[in-house]
Subunit: 485 residues, 2 copies
Amino acid sequence: MTTETEEKALRYRRAQSVSKAEEITEQEKKVRKLQLDKPVHIPRDSLFSWSSEFNNFTGLVNWGFLMLSVGGLRLGLENFLKYGLRVNPLEWLIVLTGYNEGDRSQYPSVILIIFSIVPVVVSLLLEKGIAVDLLPEKFGIILQLSNMLFMVLLPIAVLHTKGNDFSFVGITTVCMLYLVIFLKLWSYVQTNYWCRLGLKKKYLDNKLRRQSLSAPNWKSKEDLINDTPAAARLTKYPDNLNLKDLSYFMLAPTLCYELNYPRTARIRKRFVIKRVLELFFGINLALALFQQWMIPTITNSVETFATMDPIRITERLLKLAVPNHLIWLCFFYLCFHSFLNLMGELLQFADRKFYEDWWNANNISVFWSTWNMPVHMWAVRHVYKPITGLGFSKFNAGIVVFAISALFHEYLVSVPLQMFRIWAFLGMMAQPPLAIISRHAEIRLGPRWGNLMVWSSLILGQPLAIMMYYHDYAMLHFKPTQEVP
Amino acid sequence: MTTETEEKALRYRRAQSVSKAEEITEQEKKVRKLQLDKPVHIPRDSLFSWSSEFNNFTGLVNWGFLMLSVGGLRLGLENFLKYGLRVNPLEWLIVLTGYNEGDRSQYPSVILIIFSIVPVVVSLLLEKGIAVDLLPEKFGIILQLSNMLFMVLLPIAVLHTKGNDFSFVGITTVCMLYLVIFLKLWSYVQTNYWCRLGLKKKYLDNKLRRQSLSAPNWKSKEDLINDTPAAARLTKYPDNLNLKDLSYFMLAPTLCYELNYPRTARIRKRFVIKRVLELFFGINLALALFQQWMIPTITNSVETFATMDPIRITERLLKLAVPNHLIWLCFFYLCFHSFLNLMGELLQFADRKFYEDWWNANNISVFWSTWNMPVHMWAVRHVYKPITGLGFSKFNAGIVVFAISALFHEYLVSVPLQMFRIWAFLGMMAQPPLAIISRHAEIRLGPRWGNLMVWSSLILGQPLAIMMYYHDYAMLHFKPTQEVP
């Protein structure tokens, strides 16, 4: 207690020295202390005055946290009082499988999920065919690309003929899975191509060197290192072309194919149990938030969006932003920490960099290169570097990456909704200009403002896109909009 | 960009060294780099895993700030859409003066405010009477106390006879003013008493010393210092007993009377202008928040409180907590920074410690001793120290301070509402036990939890008290509760 007051006294004394308030001499201080009226006042500034140089506001972080909690708790209670309990975990199984009381019992999503094994096996057979010279390389690669294209277009075709048998969540899952397999096969084909290219180059190089040096047993530095026991343990092309290796890659939490992944020594059981529990409770939390908070808000907002009243639209957008953002945060953690770490642990896959610290990102390009590391690593290794390798500029390569990413986003949204709008594509293509603006904000106004821009685009951009799609969807499917009572 | 990635690499390397992921030797790393499949994976942990030792979440502070802004903006829009614009600055003039279209044009609050000069002048005359030995000291002090008691009871008596002529805001202002004058006169009388006591003691001491030393010109150390030019400039008792000195004290931003206040060299015009602008816009903001947000919420909540449904009451309480807290923060800044600094600047009063950093307070007793420095300084100088000086324990003196403070709070609430409940008294008397609990929380759980407790009691305690008083008030005055449409 005494040290605390002493510390405060010290702080004030320091503040005093720069204060505009008149200084009193030591003599005067002594005299004042001896007066009979027990004086307590000394010249000093208020803490909020600039001259006090006071800047300790750490308690305000706790204040912000409490205000958020109070607001959140109240919103939860208000929602419960207005809508009652709308959470029903069973509903999700029906939504996922497309099962319904009537004749819709075909489980078409499940069938498509199981069918995804076929293009994977086809890809392996084609690769094997190229390796044993059964297929000319160029023709083989054309066949590979056709296989991948067929796979991506399959959900669209099936949906077009049997659209009514699908549930929205079911077809979204199918599209996501097929897109992941597409990216993985792309990496698989390209990596095997690099291996063949490398082997050919090495063979020609060594032949050339041996001829010019006229030393038939000449070995390069690389060859020497490749003779060590560490190298002997590594799988070499084309020994990797088997079903076990490809299955491991398909299940592994990465989109980049490698012949030899870094592995962990053992599976930590406690780690697995923690991730499983996180997944179970986290998914239920996210689904509960979605049913209880998001669906009523979206449904109630459609009519507002149709009126085009800017104040009401802003209010709806801000109302939607909060649950949407919370669900996205849940999804991020569940997907990129819980699920991918669980797969990594079970497969003893040692590289767990599924995300970096995007929450500290000071501009939007840093955010895009840190929040989803599997896709980022894939894009750098299989799109960005090959393009810059061909001599194109880094800027152009970046634009191509964003364009491909935009196409994928559009695919994930348009196919399940069966609505070919371009909102998702435009949303993604707005990112490079936004990145430039946020980079300027970071340089001109400081990193805090860059970070605020990243968070704003995240919190407000998503609900805007969602409302636009939902508005179009509702206008198409049920003209006189339904209201949740 | 390169330094950034290098820094990240360093961080991961550090994380790796403590990671459970298997370490790979330098030899293996070299070998892997020479493989043809361009490997990108290395063993590393996810940032959220404990083993990564990552703890930089500074971006989340910006996130919290944005979520608060989004929530606040939406609440504001929702309020506007629901209630329209209810802000009317003119209404406050009517409320303050008690003026109404009918016969209530007596401005009774204004008359009582002007009348407050009388007890002040009476107190000066009594003090003068004691000083010139016209009144015996004990009898004089009894008269002083009677004068102060009469002043405090006057609003109650006037309200009792002419209650209908008063507006709520008017009578609250009167009560606040009379209480401040009461505290100031208490300090005035006690300080003058100390001066007389000191002079008598000094006189006797010096007489005794001179007799014993048989040196008629002996001077104590104190006497020597009091002969310096610095001391000559100070006012001495009873020269202070004049109207100018008392008027300065009455207007000065302090409750503690001193014969010689520290003064500033000049009035800073820019400082005055800033404070006046803050007051003008701040008061309008606080009143707008009150009319637009607080009144509809309170009015809508009365019926809920009568039903005694715990979930609905909690929802209402949390809804009320946010605007109430924001208005309290406005009030704090306007009162303790803008207004008191303005008075201090105009009167060249140099001691501006009207508040300390209560927002960082880690337990409730620190909060109470830092948020309102004028009252705290008064309580320590005129209640706590005299009581401990009499030999009572610090704990007992603290309880007496809280009890007196509780009485004052009750006075400020009960008199204007004309309802003698004890909610305010109990609320204040709950503070010592709360202080003990929060002190335990600070020691056991760390300072952050102590600070969270302080903020919680501030954010949630006030609206609870307000709702209890308003509930009783509404039950008394308009039985079938009115609802804002």
